[in-house]
């Protein structure tokens, strides 16, 4: 039982981390009033750009992989890719004031295509037998766990077993799992406790007010959308390099981007709640593996569970009518200053 629970929690966390990156990024973006539906596409682009960076580094380095570079190069490539995607979205919706939904959906379509195109090109380049490319060496670096965790778990007595269980469940991950939690906690802190957070929330709630108060609305929107996009992009990188052991296959990321957006609603725009939410979603997403005799027909139904939970949360939040739990008031609207 212990074993089973430990394994399930572990897999939920592994599954949920990609969602956590995505939803933290989207929360930051939405707090500025930008409903970025391009997040799934941005996560794809973050993933493939990291893969491209890693691919060239692994090929160039040959046998001697430098762990620092193995981490930094894919990471920077990924950040750059998602920053570029976020800038496209920001320029269109903030500077040109294009419709946010249309822009976001277009960006998602673009991002998925971008990922599959370059993914396909790389597969061609290595002339592989299977339609995927593997960055196993880099994945190994990314998945390095905390060194003391395994040592601690060595003893045989009952205390050691509990410790072993604890380490297995919570300390057996690569650094990106912890990074996601740290980013979410920092984001929650910044939003709630700092002046920058206050200003950002004001921009998303009422940009005219923020403007009159002397806050640079455009800068905040650009800033939040780009930072948010880059964080979300890390989710794509995490998925390929860590979760999928460095194996890129086209469309492998699936609908996790949409799940991340649903998670924003689930977490009522609070990054700290998104941590728990993402692990819950991750668990629900893989639940079908743990239900005996789940047939092909039932699996999609089980995979729907996160969305069902989101709808229930929406209903509960709407019924309680608490103002603080509502989406940012100007979410999805462009801000025109000289409008009368």
């Amino acid at each position: 039982m212990f074993e089973f629970l430990s394994q399930f929690i572990q897999r939920s966390i592994l599954q949920g981390t990609a969602l956590l990156f995505g939803s933290t990024g989207e929360i930051i973006t939405e707090k500025s009033g930008n409903l970025n539906l391009g997040i799934p596409g941005i996560m794809y682009m973050g993933g493939i750009c990291g893969v491209i960076g890693g691919f060239f580094y692994q090929n160039a380095a040959g046998r001697s992989i430098n762990p620092v570079l193995a981490i930094l190069i894919p990471l920077l490539a990924s950040l750059l890719g998602s920053l570029a995607a976020s800038l496209i979205y920001s320029f269109l919706t903030i500077t040109l004031k294009a419709n946010q939904n249309v822009t976001g959906l277009a960006l998602t379509t673009f991002g998925v295509g971008f990922g599959n195109f370059f993914g396909g090109s790389l597969i061609k380049l290595v002339d592989s037998d299977v339609p995927s490319i593997a960055l196993t060496k880099i994945a190994k670096v990314y998945k390095t766990t905390l060194p003391f965790a395994e040592k601690l778990a060595d003893s045989e007595n009952i205390f050691g077993k509990i410790l072993y269980w604890f380490c297995q469940t919570f300390l057996s991950y690569g650094f990106m799992v912890y990074l996601a939690v740290i980013i979410a906690l920092v984001a929650a802190m910044v939003l709630k406790k700092t002046r920058v957070g206050l200003h950002l929330r004001a921009v998303g709630e009422n940009p005219a007010t923020a403007d009159a108060a002397g806050i640079n609305v455009t800068a905040y929107k650009y800033f939040a959308t780009c930072i948010g996009g880059m964080i979300a992009g890390l989710g794509g990188l995490y998925y390929v390099i860590d979760y999928a052991n460095g194996v890129w296959s086209n469309n492998g990321f699936g609908d996790r981007g949409w799940l991340a957006i649903a998670l924003v609603i689930f977490a009522v725009w609070k990054p700290n709640l998104a941590i728990l939410g993402s692990y819950l979603f991750g668990g629900l997403y893989i639940l079908f593996n743990y239900i005996d005799g789940a047939s092909m027909q039932v699996i999609p139904l089980l995979k729907m569970l996160p969305y069902v939970v989101t709808i229930i949360v929406l209903i509960v939040v709407s019924m309680r009518k608490k103002k603080e739990n509502q989406p940012p008031a100007s979410l999805g609207l462009s801000y025109f200053r000289e409008e009368r």
Binding site: K193, T194, R195, L198, H199, R201, A202, E205, N206, A208, T209, A210, D211, A212, A213, G214, I215, K323, E324, Q326, A329, R337, E338, R340
Partner: protein, 515 residues
């Protein structure tokens, strides 16, 4: 009062597309004085002040602050010049607390909520405000929100305060409080600019009055040396007859009977308390009362938009004399019976019109069900829109302009005009002249009189007692959801109505004292 100019405007011009909002405006504000800016709707008062607060940038001309030329290209610049503006539509974030709103946009190092609250309380004590820094804006009444706005600019150390129609949403008591605060600021050596429509307020609070007409600065006069007649003349440019015509009601019969209506809010507050009255055809029934005493709920109850907790509303159909109970009907059926509501809310656009749709489409909101074709008939609504634009002198580039782009007064004309056009048998209008200039107001009064002559039962909810007394045949006074009295419009006195309006308020204060 000394004679140092705090702000001086020289040849300031601002245009929006082809519309000239301000043209060659020259004026100044001195330290330690209250300057009133007076002008009709659309005369460019707000635009002019928005240029001082950095929302707009002048196309031509210079602004001098303390004798030095100033370039104010953003609200932040305005703060740097110690200019603070309290906008007519409050610029507050609803889900934030008062303190959070007050410090919004200020960058003075550490973010320290306790220190902020302390400073807010200091300012409040100095000028005599009451404010709870931790209260959320959405829980506040309008006057509290205004207080937050004022504290917000004072917190920034503003020396030049601009208030855009601050009294429009306040009760007389709240207005008195506000004026006391403004006088305190004057004593402090601050320059205060107040935009208002209300002449008696101009005369009671200001030291000088600047009059704007159609974007141009007409004159600045010393308040002590002027009177209402002169100011009105300067403002409108022509003498406006002050008499509203009033015919004797012809062949009045009972049209709408409201009996013992009760309505309780979600929080358990009695919004309407045993309200009974009769509206007769061919007469105008005025409803007077302090804002928020249940006027809105009463009208909505009749229109079928408000849930009732008791009582009956019966309607006599003029076509066949049939007596109908409106409580059994839904809003659409009530509308079809000829009971029409035209409510002008505080934000003017909130109810009845869709801002992004043009005038024609807004006409169609009332008629889209008509016609047998599966396609909409746009011709008749367009003709109606043209008619309203012509007869009510709506200033608009055309019928296809989104309503949102019209100025406040013109939006109201469209709203009231549409309801009247449907030939109702009961016409309810609430605050139809709110924020309108004198000429437009008279147009509305004449429209109501025409309806009265046609045998319509008109229910008029108004704020200005003088208008109610000149326009209405009977005036019913409502206070805290109760009808406190009904007086004859021809013979009553202002004191009488004022007494009825405040009667329940006193009772409530006593109750509050006990609790």
């Amino acid at each position: 009062m000394n004679n140092v100019a705090a702000v001086e405007l020289v040849n300031v011009t601002k245009t929006f597309g082809s519309v000239v909002a301000n043209k060659n405006v020259n004026m100044d504000v001195r330290k330690g004085e209250i300057l009133a800016i007076l002008g009709e709707n659309g005369s460019g008062k707000t635009t002019l002040m928005n240029m001082l607060s950095g929302i707009y940038h002048p196309d031509e001309g210079q602004i001098y602050i303390d004798g030095k030329e100033a370039v104010i290209s953003s609200p932040k610049d305005a703060f740097a010049y110690k200019i603070g503006m309290i906008h007519q539509h409050f610029k507050l974030v609803d889900v934030f607390t008062a303190a959070e709103n007050i410090v919004l946009g200020i960058d003075d190092g550490k973010f320290d909520p306790k220190g902020i609250s302390k400073k807010v309380e200091e300012i409040s004590a100095r000028y005599g405000f009451e404010i709870d820094p931790t209260k959320k804006i959405y829980e506040m009444a309008v006057s509290e929100k205004q207080t937050v706005e004022i504290v917000k600019v004072l917190y920034r150390g503003a020396d030049i305060l601009i208030l855009d129609e601050p009294t429009a949403v306040l009760t007389p008591q709240e207005t008195r409080k506000l004026f006391a605060v403004l006088r305190q600021m004057r004593e402090d050596g601050k320059a205060v600019i107040i935009i208002t429509h209300k002449l008696h307020e101009v005369l009671s609070i200001s030291d000088r009055v600047a009059i704007l007409r159609k974007g141009e600065h007409i004159a600045t006069v010393n308040t002590a040396e002027t009177d209402e007649t002169e100011l009105t003349e300067l403002m409108v440019g022509q003498k406006v007859a002050l008499n509203i015509e009033r015919d004797e009601p012809q062949g009045s019969v009972d049209r709408l009977t409201v009996s013992h209506v009760n309505c309780v809010s979600r929080e358990g507050v009695k919004l309407l308390d045993d309200v009974s009255f009769t509206a007769k055809s061919g007469e105008i029934l005025g409803i007077a009362g302090i804002a928020g005493s249940g006027q809105r709920e009463l009208l909505e109850a009749i229109a079928g938009l408000q849930h009732l907790d008791g009582g009956e509303i019966t309607y006599v159909n003029p076509k066949n004399g049939e007596v109908v109970n409106l409580r059994d009907k839904n809003p659409k059926q009530i509308k079809e019976l000829g009971v029409r509501l035209s409510f002008v809310p505080e934000d003017r656009l909130g109810m009845g019109l869709v801002g992004n749709m043009d005038i024609t489409d807004n006409m169609m909101l009332r008629s889209y069900r008509r016609g047998k074709s599966m396609f909409l008939d746009r011709k008749r609504p367009k003709n109606l829109a043209d008619e309203i634009i012509k007869s009510l002198q709506v200033v608009t580039p055309g019928t296809s302009t989104p309503v949102r782009r019209l100025s406040g007064g013109n939006v109201q004309k469209v709203l009231v005009g549409r309801e009247i056009s449907s030939a109702p048998s009961v016409l309810m209008v609430a605050y139809p002249v709110r924020g309108l200039d004198i000429n437009s107001s008279y147009t509305i009064y004449n429209l109501l009189n025409t309806q009265k002559r046609n045998g319509v039962a008109v229910i008029f909810v108004g704020e200005d007692l003088d208008v109610l007394m000149e326009l209405c045949d009977r005036i019913m006074v409502i206070g805290s959801g109760r009808i406190t009295g009904t007086v004859d419009g021809r013979s009553c006195t202002k004191e009488e109505i004022g007494y009825l309006m405040t009667k329940t308020e006193k009772a409530e204060n006593e109750e509050g004292g006990k609790g």
